[in-house]
């Protein structure tokens, strides 16, 4: 199994990545490969630096003052720090913890990213791209008659799927999801899970989740981040990174087993 995975192309390669905020290390020395068309889930206690880490993947951390990222992150072999951040963010989409549609129409929410990034095509092509994105998240049938309505009128679950559609429309190479179901009810959250397993046929998904059942259900590989304390300093460390079955059934580390079992039971 491990061998089969290793033959996968590696869209994202991390080499000794360390993230620090104003001198305080948030997460240290992460080295890992993220494989194509798989769902990679990051689990670990709150404050262990998961969000800080995946926000490096699309250089969102550039927008925060005092953040320093060391090490190398390679996107299909290119160091992302040498690429244009705007381009990185188009190629690496992101879905946030709370649904945050723009206070515009449903249609415009999806079309805007395309237009901004210089979508080349007619109005019809644009309509088609919007429809396709909404179909891929299973939202099309629910909203096709009210595309001009304000997106804020949608329910929380629909809003989150709209946010995913917004990202899909740009055909990203990787999709980052920071606890995409944290603010959703169980039914909406299940819909998203279902969607994720479908999406991975076409996309590479990296997600953070506190819901271990979700990780077990949808993820192919799981990365467990734990908090290490050295004197006053506390920072996150990648403790174990393995296929989902291994993490949940026979993890190498006792800490992983403890985390996975206490929470799931």
């Amino acid at each position: 199994m491990t061998n089969a995975l290793n033959n996968h192309p590696v869209p994202l390669k991390l080499e000794n990545v360390t993230v620090s905020y104003g001198g305080h290390v948030a997460i240290k020395d992460v080295t890992m490969d993220i494989y194509e068309n798989q769902i990679t889930a990051f689990i670990g206690p709150s404050g262990c630096g998961k969000s800080s880490l995946i926000r490096c993947f699309n250089r969102m951390n550039d927008l925060v003052k005092g953040v320093k990222v060391e090490g190398e992150i390679l996107l299909y072999g290119d160091n992302i720090m040498t690429l244009n951040p705007i381009e990185v963010r188009r190629r690496v989409g992101m879905v946030f913890q709370r649904p945050n549609p723009f206070p515009k129409s449903i249609y415009e929410n999806v079309a805007m990213g395309l237009r901004i990034n210089g979508f080349r095509g007619s109005k019809l092509d644009l309509d088609e791209a919007v429809r396709s994105a909404l179909e891929q998240v299973g939202l099309w049938d629910e909203v096709k008659n009210r595309l001009k309505q304000n997106a804020l009128n949608l329910s929380g679950g629909q809003q989150q799927r709209l946010c995913i559609a917004r990202v899909i429309a740009l055909q990203p190479e990787i999709m980052l999801m920071d606890e995409p179901c944290a603010s959703l009810d169980p039914v909406s959250s299940l819909v998203i899970d279902e969607l994720l397993t479908e999406l991975k046929k076409n996309y590479t998904v990296v997600m953070i989740t506190h819901n271990l059942q979700q990780a077990a259900r949808v993820a192919d590989r799981v990365a467990f981040i734990c908090v290490e304390a050295h004197g006053q300093e506390r920072y996150g460390r990648l403790l174990e990174y393995a296929p989902v079955t291994q993490i949940f059934i026979s993890p190498d580390h006792q800490l992983t087993q403890k985390y996975v079992n206490t929470r799931i039971g």
């Binding site: 945050n100 990034n117 329910s155």
Partner: protein, 661 residues
């Protein structure tokens, strides 16, 4: 046993006393809080009364035996809205060619305001965007107060600059322009309104949730694209509100319109290169004439006051409504919708779970979308915008810098002890400003004595005593409306109320235009600001303080007196000082109440005639070349006083902020 009894007796007695105090305090506060409502009612009452008399007398017929016959109220209203000329104050309704068409003044007002808004909207909006989205923190710390200090400069100073300097510059561009013109007035008012728009718009931009901007960046937008397409568009209602509030100030601006725009023209005039009589310049100008009770000119001035009042009221109500609505809208956008779970909704959710059909395979790589590169044109647009926004922020600041520099150069050498202590004189070498200085001092102190207790008491009532409900919301709206009523209208109210009462009491129409009336009028102007400042100071005290105080068994007044007021004191002091600067800078209302151009004696009592520093600046503006350096010296003195008060306010605030509570 005995001790317990004593304790009970003690408690009971003190409770009766505290209850009595409580009731008494409640009544006093209620009385103070009703002042703004009384002001509103009186204002509306006087305006309607005078307007009624105006409309009854404005349309007349002459019978063959030269007896005047009024054609009545409705004919008056028809004349008011249909006449194409306005000669009120120049001749009487019985004269040949008399015109009373409000459109003449309204069109001029709209033209001057439109020019002002054409300056203020782009510059103010770009400045707001620059300050809120682009400026590094240290630069913002410098630029924001510098820009906002424009709105603290007395408008008589700005108007004088327009009259003296800007009109000459305009003459080089438009050779046919009059020395006082609508264009010149509009431009200066526009600069004056930049900070109004920029600070309100900045609030609106700030209110846009960070999450929206993040999702914009995450889609690969450049900074400019996030700012322009997400932040500005989301904040759009708030920006429109800022524009509405600024426009209402443009309508009501008096001193700039008077000094830079002049007066003239009796027909509807669309040409901004000529002098334009706006509503405000007509009102303040007519106070030169016969404004005795019952005179036609007086009722005309009040009627135009009513027109102005209605225009500003509509714009303000609209702006405030929009701000309120937008705030609710944005906060609701951040809260997930509460989903009502019905069996139907559950079925729908379940079915969507089942037929979640995922789309056909994505297009193969060759058909993949192609994207415009993220550099090149998109970056250049962003950089150009950044530069334009920075320049827009600087325009107002440079304007202010030029005004201060020019006056310091012209007036510095005149600013000596002799100037500060001499009385007015026709000889520029001997003239000084002791009389207006003393007038400003008297009136400001008197205003402070009146406005501080009323304002603080009223604010305490609104904030701590008044039960919530539609009544409270109405008063909320009304106070912000009062704060936006043009000061010239308060000048009319002072004339129609305070001056009039004294005239009736003394049975003499020559009295009443004195220090007392001036201070009472300024009290009307400052009161809304005092109330708003005090309320926000009380509002900023965390509720936990109130709970803690009540939990120790304090009555409501004890909570206010012992806990809330001490905690709010620094903010209230700062707010009061800033509110008083409004009084010190006020010009138009005092001209309307009856400031006297040349008095040689410092005030001796409440019934003395008066002049203040800004009014003196206004009179000297028209006094000719020899008085120009004197006027500059007076301007430096006035601005110096305002700067000192502002700095003390800021100092007090910072001093108490550093102290641990």
């Amino acid at each position: 046993m005995e001790t317990i009894n004593r304790a009970e007796r003690f408690r009971q007695r003190s409770q009766t006393v505290t209850n009595l105090v409580e009731i008494l305090v409640h009544i006093v506060l209620l009385a103070l809080a009703s002042v703004p409502i009384l002001i509103t009612l009186t204002l509306v009452g006087i305006l309607i009364y005078e307007a009624f008399s105006f409309f009854q007398n404005v349309a007349v017929d002459l019978t063959p035996d030269s007896q005047t016959v009024s054609r009545g109220f409705w004919a008056g209203i028809a004349k008011f809205f249909s006449d194409g000329t306005w000669t009120v104050g120049q001749n009487e309704p019985t004269d040949e060619g008399f015109g009373a068409g409000a459109l003449v003044l309204i069109v001029s007002t709209l033209i001057v305001s439109a020019i002002a808004m054409a300056v203020a909207i782009p510059l103010g909006l770009l400045a707001a965007i620059y300050l809120s989205e682009y400026a590094p923190p240290w630069l913002r710390l410098v630029l924001k107060p510098a820009l906002e200090s424009i709105s603290g400069v007395p408008t008589v100073v700005l108007g004088y600059f327009g009259f003296l300097t800007l009109s000459d510059l305009l003459k080089q561009v438009f050779p046919t322009i009059a020395s006082q013109s609508g264009l010149c007035a509009g431009l200066v008012i526009g600069v004056f309104l930049i900070p109004t728009i920029s600070s309100l718009a900045e609030d609106a931009l700030h209110a846009v949730p960070m999450e929206l901007q993040e999702s914009g960046y995450a889609l690969g937008m450049t900074k400019f694209e996030v700012v322009w397409r997400i932040v500005v568009q989301t904040a759009f209602p708030g920006i429109v509100a800022a524009i509405a509030l600024a426009a209402s100030r443009a309508f009501g601006e008096t001193m700039i319109a008077l000094l830079a725009g002049g007066r003239g023209g009796t027909v509807i005039n669309f040409n901004p290169l000529e002098a334009n009589t706006t509503i405000t310049t007509f009102i303040v100008g007519s106070t030169d004439g016969d404004l005795n009770p019952g005179s036609f000119l007086r009722s005309a001035a009040f009627t135009m006051g009513m027109v102005l009042f209605i225009m500003t009221l509509i714009l303000n109500s609209f702006g405030n409504w929009l701000i309120r609505r937008n705030r609710e809208y944005l906060s609701s956008a951040l809260v997930s919708k509460l989903e009502v779970v019905s069996s139907e909704a559950e079925a729908e959710a379940a079915s969507s779970l089942e037929d979640l059909h995922i789309a056909q395979a994505l297009p193969s790589p060759s058909e993949r979308l192609s994207f415009a590169p993220a550099y090149g044109f998109r970056n250049i647009v962003g950089m150009v915008f950044h530069g334009v926004a920075l320049l827009s922020t600087l325009v107002g600041i440079i304007f202010l810098g030029v005004i201060i520099y020019q006056n310091v150069v012209a007036g510095w050498s005149y600013l000596d002890w002799q100037f500060l202590t001499s009385t007015q004189s026709t000889d520029p070498k001997e003239a000084g400003i002791i009389v207006p200085l003393a007038g400003t001092f008297w009136i400001t102190i008197l205003t402070a004595i009146l406005v501080i207790p009323i304002g603080i008491g009223g604010a305490i009532y609104f904030e701590e005593y008044m039960p919530d409900g539609w009544w409270k919301r109405l008063i909320d709206v009304q106070i912000s409306n009062l704060a936006a009523v043009p000061s010239i209208i308060y000048g009319l109210l002072g004339l129609g109320l305070f001056v009039r009462i004294q005239q009736v009491l003394a049975n003499d129409n020559q009295v009443g235009r004195n220090i007392l009336s001036a201070a009472l009028t300024l009290t009307l102007i400052v009161l809304p600001f005092q109330i708003i400042a005090t309320r926000s100071a009380l509002d900023n005290i965390p509720n936990s303080q109130r709970y803690a105080a009540y939990a120790t068994g304090m009555t409501r007044w004890q909570v206010v007196w012992r806990v809330l007021l001490p905690a709010a004191l620094p903010a209230i002091t700062t707010g009061s000082l800033l509110a008083l600067t409004t009084a010190i800078a006020e010009t138009a209302a005092l001209i309307a109440v009856g400031a006297v151009a040349s008095i040689r004696f410092t005030p001796t009592g409440l019934d003395s005639q008066f002049i203040t520093l800004p009014v003196q600046i206004y009179y000297w503006s028209a006094a000719g070349k020899p008085f120009e350096p004197l006027n500059s010296a007076a301007i430096i003195t006035l601005i110096g006083i305002l700067v000192i008060i502002n700095f003390s306010a800021v100092f007090i605030r910072n001093f108490f902020r550093l102290k641990p509570r």
